[in-house]
Symmetry: D2
Subunit: 335 residues, 4 copies
């Protein structure tokens, strides 16, 4: 697992290249920026224009080559314009088919050039489009399964995008993990009150905030540990300073606070895991399934007739407390 600052688009490669020469530092990932130029106004791989599809393929091809050349560990697809503004003028089925063909070609090309990094998709529900196809982790997993791409891609989860799609960050991380898709984490945070994030009028882009809340970073780290870490992925700081933060030192303060928050989260998560009370509380909750009947159910061998017989035999089930307040107390005590 690595903490590293990455960026988007063409410039980042030059920046990384200058720094990396003669060092052992690799880019965490590379990407192609396919959403700012007007040619991408209807999307890149999902553009209604064939020419744009081809142009985007050429650009991703080049970006993958450069990432490989620089020793990048992963490659990220963030489909900022892969979505729609209104279904009235959109053939969603055809656009999704095109997206699948595009990603398929990318997976093929990756193997061809011998790039062993992971291909990552970064879910986001909307902005700049009204609806983005990679809405959240589950939506993206469904897409990958439908088109037979589930083994070729993993996800890059960003807490901010989780919030925008109505989920907690922890939910998105766990959903990715349970689908075998947790690959990388964008280490910035969402503002639960700002369903709409502050738009930077000068650069024309949203200003992602650095993660400073230690309770949230602890939840994040619990998922990462359960996932056995993130390698070859890592954390990247995609966040930017607020437009109003114009001092050079603001950049350092923001990174330090963000990294500190993650480090404190990791220590808290370790404490929680070493202490074991929370895991024990969860284990106990499900212990009625650690039985012969439970095993039969989990093995798919308990049909409705069998279960009805058991239910009649047992009568009204006894249902214990969920111990939510205790779980929250244990969690808060580790902060």
């Amino acid at each position: 697992m690595k903490l590293e600052h990455s960026g988007r688009g063409r410039n980042i490669f030059r920046f990384n290249y200058l720094i990396l020469q003669g060092t052992k530092i690799h880019p965490l990932w590379g990407t192609a920026q396919l959403f700012v130029h007007p040619r991408f106004m209807h999307g890149a791989a999902t553009s209604s224009e064939l020419g744009v599809y081809a142009y985007s393929a050429a650009q991703v091809k080049k970006a993958m080559e450069v990432t490989h050349y620089l020793g990048g560990e992963n490659y990220v697809f963030w489909g900022g314009r892969e979505g729609y503004q209104t279904l009235l003028n959109t053939d969603m089925g055809r656009e999704l088919d095109h997206l699948a063909r595009f990603l398929e070609a990318a997976a093929t090309y990756k193997k061809k050039i011998g790039f062993n990094g992971i291909l990552l998709i970064e879910p986001k529900p909307q902005e700049p489009t009204k609806h983005q196809y990679d809405w959240d982790a589950a939506t993206t997993a469904n897409f990958l399964r439908k088109y037979g791409l589930i083994d070729e891609f993993k996800l890059n989860i960003e807490c901010n995008h989780a919030t925008l799609s109505g989920h907690s960050c922890h939910h998105e991380l766990e959903t990715a993990r349970l689908n075998g898709l947790l690959g990388n984490i964008d280490a910035n945070t969402g503002d639960p009150q700002v369903v709409l994030r502050a738009v930077d009028i000068t650069t024309g882009w949203d200003t992602d905030q650095f993660l400073t809340d230690v309770a949230e970073s602890t939840m994040v780290m619990l998922s990462v540990i359960r996932n056995g870490g993130l390698a070859p992925g890592g954390f990247n700081f995609d966040a930017k300073l607020r437009r109003e933060s114009t001092d050079v030192e603001d950049l350092f303060i923001a990174h330090i606070t963000g990294m500190d928050a993650l480090a404190r989260g990791l220590r808290n998560a370790a404490k929680l895991i070493e202490d074991g009370s929370l895991a024990e509380l969860v284990r106990k909750r499900y212990q009625s399934f650690d039985t012969e009947v439970g095993a039969k159910i989990e093995a798919g061998k308990a049909d409705f007739e069998y279960l009805e017989k058991k239910a009649m035999e047992w009568g009204e089930p006894k249902v214990p407390s969920a111990k939510q307040e205790l779980a929250e107390m244990i969690f808060q005590s580790a902060m």
Copy 2:
């Protein structure tokens, strides 16, 4: 396609049975109510208690038998308590595994008793749980695919739940349709301002509103027509009167307005389809793919090298307008 009033839980069967004797009317669907009684406080198929899992299986078994006996055309699963209040005390992976086993057993039992109706899952993002596993159409599709159940189930889409999950109703219908899962529609509407729907304190249940907006019902009907209708599914009026609507006539007025809204939506959708301008606008938007290169892409035969060559050859792509305003004008003109 049928317009019919259905309800939830045990009572409906009695009600339907009394009415249906000696008629040719069948229930649109049957269901089991597995969320009000305290035994279901942690869920039914996803309860942490084995006894509740078995109890629920027995209840669904009986409800499926009764639905079959009454000539019901479908069977609905609405997992009101299949979700979590906090991830701190929840083993989400194990709960989802249990849910899959439960639905698998249901599909097996359906065949065993010769019930030919469709098994429907009704997505809903939350309420009464903080997070419900059948969050939206895409999330449910991913679950069905992951556990190999995609061919055994379809979805029952409710506009209100679409709104709660941050989507338009039309989006959910189209997502269901494109995944081959559009089975039935709950004919009530969401209130975009009421992210929180009015809770009826007496009955302890939310009061779904009848659909009255003709623009929305037109969008709904466009999806239904594209789907080739809903048979053997249909529209059901799960909506209830407001707590403040205490006159007997309110019940009739609500149903009449709701059915009229759907009828007007169907006429508008038919008008739009007969007129053809909207479909033509969409067709034209993608016509650059109706070419040799486009066909190659859609057949999965255009790799990155080929596309790069084309991109170089063509230069900067010309990107036409998306004609959103025209699409909206055409749509509004049919109202």
Copy 3:
């Protein structure tokens, strides 16, 4: 009441001037653009910098003079940056005091130059700041009352901003009207699903949509008629085309659809008012107050002892239906 296209900032005056020479057409309103330039990053009248406060005053002074010179009928304040990103670094009390002093000075200057137009404030909850001081109509009314400015200003209501603050557009219009503050309407609409509106990355500004929904425009027009019209205010089309709408004709289509929607709304509202059933339904609902006791309550002469005596005398009150479904049916019938 007038339908007119206005814009923001400096350019509009030139545009208007070129068109207006030798005509009888006046600008609906003028305004100063105090949010794009980095000098306004912390606000204009609420900037933490004295120099920015003075600069803004000079700019508004000039804009008011030009508006007056061009025969403008109103002057609009939209406080895009008058708010905060975090309360941690903000003295909200001091900033609000500054804003009041600034608006006070504007009201004084208006009189000094003999400009008889109305000063309008346009509420908006957030974007680009996390929290904007003119959050909604009620918040702005409270501010104006607290600082003794309630008679000097009216409001410019935008449906889009209503949606962003969790209200229906109709609610905001009625709140403005009941506070005697309904002055002007921005004729664009919000997207209930897009809590976050599509950001145009090129221009760095949100793309407001034109109002196309006739049900909404009917509600808007009901408020306008109840208000006795909007003169000297009017409707302005602040909305812009989508970034993807690049044809010249898109601009015309958007304006035509928007104006048509308002015209159809006005006709529907007139129909509803002439028909009278909706007004009669509302009048009847409150008729128990059209009595001697009711009059006493409304005159502030019914104290708690008197009311207790009446309550004892009357026993359990009879509560009739609210007739919401009937009201919705009447409303929909006029569409």
Copy 4:
């Protein structure tokens, strides 16, 4: 300032009375429950029915007397049904007039019986109505100002309701404080992801959660300290256990965690205030106003001509960083 557990409605008085006899403990506040019984379906003071208005007055009269008799320190109005479901059937102006008359009569009666406690209004945006008249602190302040009641009432702020209205809890507390209205705090929290809180189907009421987040409780306590404490108000634990928390000990754990969170918040806030860096950062941000020109502006003596002259003289203003990242770092360091 006091930490105390209070409840709603009739039962609480009996409960308190039994406990309080022979002790020095007083109820923090009393209230009347005017929203569950069907007679209040259209509201209490804003019901369309005269009889309900009188009935409600009698009930509040009695509740005020009992609160006074028990030595209660405040009296709370929570207008759960004072709002509307749709504006189509509602005369909002008349309902607000009735509400004002009702509160006026309550203020008069309070004085008559010699009750010196504060009258508190608890803002909440919606639920169970679509729109509640006491939407948030600013809306309620506007109402109180419009009807000349601003000196007779204060506010009871609940973090959960702040979240529901799109604000942070801190924003609501500060808005109340700056309007001289911060009277009491409901010590429960909102769930930013659950715009819709889990509804307890058995009791038919939402389950407010206890505050466990120390960062939030620190923000809360910063406002309380700035307000010079809350006396004669305090914190009340209106929160309830989750429906799934059925053990007796859950009740204790929840209260302990909630009180601990507030205690830790108070210690953090004290640390931040003693340290002084955050206050200093804010003070410095506005220091350009601590000058002769600044004083003139704040005294309302700087007109537009004077400010224009200053702006010309000074040229382009220099705008320093807002130091948001530093403020966040200081805040997090105190956790």
